[in-house]
Symmetry: C2
């Protein structure tokens, strides 16, 4: 099992709208994430827009590939892209910067 | 159950030593964390020193208070303090900046 942490940066002027959108993620997006093996997946937001993602999965590369193959993810990521800084043309789920786990206690 | 995410900043010149120390956290520190209700607790480190903590617990205030009452935590935090930036005299476990959870998928 892998524990994954990644960072993104939400635009300061879209923070409240980002929060709202994530209170109502599309049910078919949630279903697709579950089917792709994303578990215990949380997003945490700091006031300055720093976004931390945490999830558990058997194989993160496989879990990402499974989402990339879905039509709902393409639609969701296209809607989310304008909320983020520094994507340089990438979708939010492309090229996620993951951090090294340096400690774990079960 | 609460899911908690917090951030700290490790000094650039101490990153490797910080990693090493966390490959060998004292067994009595691990025992104290478990007894205090810290579960599924991970630390993730970015190359520039940004440290992300994630844990699950029934009550984070109670879990922190329980650790603050232990002698091993006082010793551990005193040894860790020099690894961090911007503590301004606080221990690393004091005044942790926690982030808001804006999304969760079980």
């Amino acid at each position: 099992m892998q524990r994954v942490c990644f960072l993104l940066r939400v635009r300061q002027d879209r923070l409240e709208e980002y929060r709202e959108r994530h209170r109502a993620v599309w049910p078919d997006m949630l279903t697709a994430l579950r089917a792709a093996g994303w578990r215990d997946y949380s997003l945490f937001l700091r006031d300055d827009g720093l976004l931390v993602g945490y999830l558990e999965t058997d194989d993160f590369d496989a879990a990402r590939a499974a989402m990339e193959g879905t039509e709902v993810n393409a639609r969701w990521q296209a809607e989310m892209a304008p909320f983020f800084e520094d994507l340089e043309g990438r979708r939010p789920d492309e090229g996620l910067l993951t951090l090294d786990e340096v400690f774990h206690l079960d």
